[in-house]
Symmetry: C2
Subunit: 428 residues, 2 copies
């Protein structure tokens, strides 16, 4: 299969107007660098990386720079061809300097890699998660790049791990198809929402069957305390309350704030400090236990995740689907998490992330058994109406996708309306 | 002082044609995202970040996205205004998602921050290093952003550190002006050079007074062994041989190769594995001692440097001048290195890096006393002819810059000739 062309579009949704998605660091217009790979077989693969508004044009420029590795390329046979594609993108002898394997370049790599996975899943006529669970352990591991992490997980160990977990796989797949996969909601507690809106959203969510709720915290401890009391009051003692600091604290401040907030029985504290601070997360994890530390949505690559696991610095792996080298690198992280026995709780939200990460969770649940039922997938109820095959969540559980591909193809009308800066949504 | 406009140019030098700068990962066309800040006082500040060729246009796009924080801005008073500028650039509520504080966005931030330092040094009529050493401890620390590193170095500790080292400062400044600062050469051992060229360059360098030599190594141990033997034979037992792997090994492979290469008495092994792998560097450092581990040229920010120091994972801090948030973040790293007693050996080379880092080394030597004479600054003899005030190295020592500014202003003719893609050097 030959890639004939790489198309890329700058698509932005004006979410900041309602302060949806607001937290201690971000106030964004949820955006996508949206890639389409057109092939000589008539099949097209779609992929995206999520950005926060301004700067999406930089990711678009990065996709254009990386496209040289795909334009006119005869794809190597699946599944090993996925590994050679990732390596060609991440080791470009000039572009690599702009990372390496981090930031804009890695996000653009994610969009391209994800489009290639979409292509392969469509070609196989399967939803991504099913394509993945049907690969043999050798095939799956052969599709991945484990460079720089072999001190934690060698390819042979990864194969053994998948083989060891193969028992019960069919039963797990049946259960996933019938019961779905558990989700939690982030839609209730954005930092920019007034108290009354938070209360109303909590009540609506409880009525909808939700049992786990995320709340944003910031630098002001008094404000955090007031809002945590409000959330806990609304959801009662039996439901889970997750706190999310979005990196706004230094290490000593994270420990100080969590001592004060521990009375509200938080399940986890997410992104308590700089996402690059492995040792800082380890210090916080040690200080705030039994509250678990969660992180990963902006983790640049498998090497940082490896260390977070090695240092026992996190209790929940919040893998993202397109910040790293896309689904390929996310799978490496999921395999490492399985080895270390840490549950994978992927990062949803933004635009398209829930569509993507449901596939990762279903793969994790079926192929690896999740981690003792602690795995839970984030759900945010924005912007799903723009997708042709949007994720379906019922009674706080993701339903297993059935359509071929990665669920990420956007409606052509949405692409046209929200294209930046020329689309009607931005011209007005 | 008000910034009236932010100009940015894509400048590239076709160095890959001679394989200058070739190593196990890179074969680049040394390039600069070159920024000029024009002010209402008629003064202009110049700054750049170095890239490796393809993708320089992505950094240019990132500078344009960040320029909103400078265009029309009344700069806050110096020196505290440098801190507020850095914070505005690194915490933009939408652009931050593209890092945070890493990759293309951080490199573009570096170019802008460096241009602001150039402006301040020109306004003060001093070379940058002298501007810095003349600030009081409180003024210097007040100009810097220590967020995320206060568990290793608080602002108060940084002030104390500078005060403690103030004794002997005048004598150190006099010595630096008279004797310069020690340098080592990287120009002899590029991976793409044939053996005979390496031998010739070693002999020429020894004749020029050089006593410390860097050699690139790659994945092939037999080839590394042959080339290390050749270099050691040429430079003899009394001179320093540094090895540089440019990240081409996994952790176990780094340990294996260094066991085999230790017979050539290397002074350090540089970038033995992924630059993000703090724990991996610590494991390697432990295994290869007394050979020291050196890293930093692609370290994304102060948080990763902090951990490398906390974990005793490196013996030489190879701070870069424009990959992080420019000179501002480099100074934070230099202060942390001083606290941990690790020598700073800045990353030179590329285009303009030697011009920049000489200022960092002279600041380190004068204000902090270096680290017991082990500090040494990289020198590579490419592309200096394009600068109006190029660095001067004599008898293997940098001479202290005397002209106001950061030594980074390029000749207008060079900017025009090498502008990509329209300049004459690229049109032919």
């Amino acid at each position: 299969m030959r890639v004939e062309s790489v198309l890329v579009r700058d698509v932005r949704f004006p979410t900041s107007r309602q302060r949806d998605g607001s937290d201690s660091m971000n106030e964004g217009d949820y955006s996508a660098t949206y890639v389409t790979l057109e092939t000589d077989e008539g099949l097209a693969g779609h992929g995206l990386t999520f950005t926060n508004g301004r700067g999406n044009e930089i990711c678009v420029a990065a996709v254009k720079a990386l496209a040289r590795h795909l334009e006119g390329r005869e794809l190597d046979p699946f599944p090993t061809g996925m590994r050679s594609l990732v390596l060609d993108l991440t080791t470009d002898s000039q572009l690599r300097w702009l990372g390496p394997e981090k930031g804009v370049l890695q996000m653009a790599t994610g969009a391209l890699v994800n489009a290639a996975w979409d292509l392969q899943a469509r070609r196989a006529g399967k939803p991504l998660w099913k394509l993945l669970v049907d690969l043999s352990p050798e095939e799956l591991v052969g599709a991945l790049d484990l460079s720089y992490v072999t001190d934690a997980l060698t390819p042979a160990e990864a194969v053994s791990l998948l083989r060891d977990r193969a028992a019960g796989k069919e039963e797990r797949e049946r259960a996933c198809r019938e019961d779905g996969f558990p989700a939690y909601t982030t839609s209730t507690g954005w930092l920019g929402y007034p108290d009354e809106k938070v209360r109303r959203l909590c009540r609506e969510a409880i009525a909808g069957g939700w049992t786990a709720f995320k709340m944003k915290v910031g630098t002001d401890l008094a404000d955090n305390t007031r809002r945590a009391a409000l959330m806990r009051e609304e959801i009662g003692p039996g439901r889970l309350l997750m706190l999310d600091a979005n990196q706004c604290w230094d290490v000593p401040e994270a420990i100080r704030q969590m001592e004060a907030l521990s009375g509200f029985d938080p399940y986890w504290i997410e992104e308590p400090t700089s996402p690059d601070d492995v040792l800082g997360h380890a210090a916080i994890a040690n200080a705030v236990a039994p509250v678990g530390v969660a992180t990963g949505e902006v983790c640049p690559n498998r090497v940082v995740f490896k260390q977070l696991l090695q240092a026992r610095a996190l209790r929940f792996v919040q893998v993202d689907s397109c910040r790293m080298a896309g689904i390929s690198e996310a799978l490496v992280v999921i395999l490492m998490a399985a080895k270390f026995g840490v549950p994978v709780c992927p990062h949803g939200g933004g635009v398209g992330l829930c569509e993507y990460v449901q596939h990762l969770s279903f793969f994790d649940a079926v192929a690896l058994g999740g981690a003792d039922g602690e795995a839970i997938c984030e759900y945010v109820d924005h912007l799903h109406e723009h997708f042709l095959d949007p994720c379906v969540v019922r009674a706080a559980r993701y339903r297993a996708p059935t359509a071929p591909g990665t669920s990420i193809a956007m409606k052509p009308g949405s692409l046209d309306t929200y294209e930046f800066p020329g689309g009607p949504a931005w011209r007005e």
